[in-house]
Amino acid sequence: MHATSHAFKKNAHEALHDAVLQRALLNLKAGFQDRRARTVAQLPEWEALRERAKAIKDHVLLHLDFYLERYAAQVETRGGMVHWARTGAEMRDIVLGICRSVGARTVTKGKTMIAEEIALNDFLEEQGITPVETDLGEYIIQLRHEPPSHIIAPAVHLTKEQVADSFRAKHTTLDPDRPLGEPRQLLDEARAELRQKFLDADVGITGANFLIAETGSSIIVTNEGNGDLTQLLPKVHIVLASLEKVVPTLEDAATILRLLARSATGQEFSAYTTISTGPKRPGDRDGPEQYHVVLLDNGRSNMVGTEFQDMLRCIRCGACMNHCPVYAAVGGHAYGWVYPGPMGAVLTPSLVGVEEGGHLPNASTFCGRCESVCPMKIPLPKMMRHWRERQFERHLTPNAARYGLALWSFLARRPVLYHAAARAAAWLLGRLGGARGRFRSLPLAGAWTATRDMPAPQGPTFHALWAARRRAPGR
């Protein structure tokens, strides 16, 4: 997918004025936040589990080379094939090579963010292979030629009326007057449309929530059952995964699984958690004849050992964006690439560069909710600050902000001067505010005063009040 993260400000502005999008985004609270809170409250071990899960992933990242080698060896022992891709382009070529080797014409896909990251669908179509998204949300946005706006709910930016319009436009063999007003009717239609596609596909592509070094297994976590039909029915199953998905043992995966569904959808456990190990066995009546895993680096090996290593603990649950006031206001498309919300604001600059993604770490109020709900305890606000520093160092910050910060830091390191300047500014603004005591507009603060008045300072500064109070008798 072509990144437009550099245009965050413009994207966000448009999103704020999109009435239909704003209506769709209202579903986030009841849909995600309330359900998560209820389920987490039922597990007294929640905080202890977060600590354990964090420790497991930190351990893996420090020994990532070892666990990847053990994992790959186990896959191969069990008859699977492991392919290594340094870049998205390499991964696309590997997938194409496997598809070509079996003469594949259609490919079903379970939901995988890695395929979005490497823009696999467009590539396969250019090569004459038809990719069919089978997750309901992904299917809807594929029909609409849109990117996902959320990592676990790709069509969260749409209303059911928009989905109905898309189905009428694309499912042209059906009765044009059929009722499509309810989510149930939309789901039944998508289910019927996709059923034959599952059965006809030559290759099934899924992502992976975990790779198990101990057993060479891949794990997917889903609710719809589409991922299982995708990996079970075709002759070939291809798993797309990034390096950091590996964990040591099934027991380690079980610990993190206790956090995943609760954080993502507020379920105790997702409907389907499936562990796949190699191709079908002798005597099996179903299952794929070939099992391939393609491991993607795409910048992650450079994050290990840096201040951004913590981001590689991410399990893609979406809790950070579900609880982010900025995401709730502008939705996922404004972030301009595959990963939106707080996790996207940290990961995008790592993967596509700070020049393209450097705006995103500024799309934060630093309220800290993302970190407090993150099951893997990723310090997202701290990492956004790291990116802001890098952006500043590289002179990518706008001049007005640079000079403002320089002036502020000059004053802040000289308390006497600072207090004098604050006194002068408060006096001046107080005078300029006049009888109304408010400003309708202020230079350099036009965005702030566009929708509200700025109150003028009144009376002495805080420091002056504080000093007076300390001098006051009887304290």
Binding site: A155, L158, E251, A254, Y272, T273, D284
Partner: protein, 225 residues
């Protein structure tokens, strides 16, 4: 070793500012893998076997699964027949070959095929390898006599679960699987199933019956010696 593999591993080591791990560390890590130690288990699974069965039923029911208790495995065919009649479904099903020894002949009106599932199959009956009380989750494993397509293609999925196979946490179920046979080899597919398939992709309203089964019934067979 492929170029890409050696380069990726080299970059990881470069970022971690070290070479390949020393032999002693590798041995310790291999030992950690072989030990596959448990981490933290939730208190809610600290119950006796009857308590675990009760917890399982409670959690499975909360996940939109219907649970029917039976006294013996021999009661399964008639329970299935009753269920299909109640739901107005045709008396035709596909079952795991592993269940072929049940007294299906006692219900001659039921047409039963023992095989994997195909597109048109509407009802399947399969055995559970184990069940996890912690979250009301079934553990279904693939094998020559337990094809995985039965768990996903039909609209109605009936699972036969013996009460003795209900455990507390996922880790207990994994231990049973590892203890199976001599090699400890995992099956090709392990399905943890918690309720029927579902989606919230349209306006965050949960709908049951996405691409997998619309209905999940568990026939819970009590131990009777």
């Amino acid at each position: 070793m492929s170029d890409a593999k050696s380069q990726i591993l080299g970059r990881i080591r470069g970022s971690l500012k070290r070479d390949a791990l020393p032999a002693a560390t590798v041995a310790a890590l291999d030992e950690r893998l072989a030990r596959h130690e448990r981490n933290l288990l939730p208190q809610r699974v600290a119950r006796d076997p009857a308590g675990l069965v009760a917890l399982f039923v409670e959690m499975a029911t909360a996940a939109n699964t219907e649970v029917t208790r039976l006294a013996a495995l021999a009661d399964v065919p008639s329970a299935v027949a009753t269920l299909l009649a109640r739901e107005n479904l045709p008396a035709e099903l596909v079952a795991s070959p592993a269940l072929a020894d049940l007294p299906w002949a006692e219900r001659p009106l039921l047409t039963v095929r023992f095989d994997r599932a195909h597109g048109p199959d509407a009802v399947s009956v399969t055995p559970a390898f184990a069940a996890i009380a912690e979250t009301g989750t079934l553990m279904l494993v693939s094998g020559a006599d337990t094809p995985s397509t039965l768990n996903f293609l039909p609209d109605t999925h009936v699972v036969v679960l013996e009460a003795k196979d209900v455990v507390g946490p996922y880790e207990d179920a994994l231990d049973r699987l590892r203890a199976r046979g001599s090699t400890g080899e995992l099956p090709r597919t392990i399905n943890f199933v918690t309720g029927p398939s579902r989606t919230g992709d349209i306006e965050q309203t949960i709908q049951l019956g996405a691409h997998g089964p619309r209905r999940l019934h568990i026939l819970l067979v009590e131990d009777n010696g």
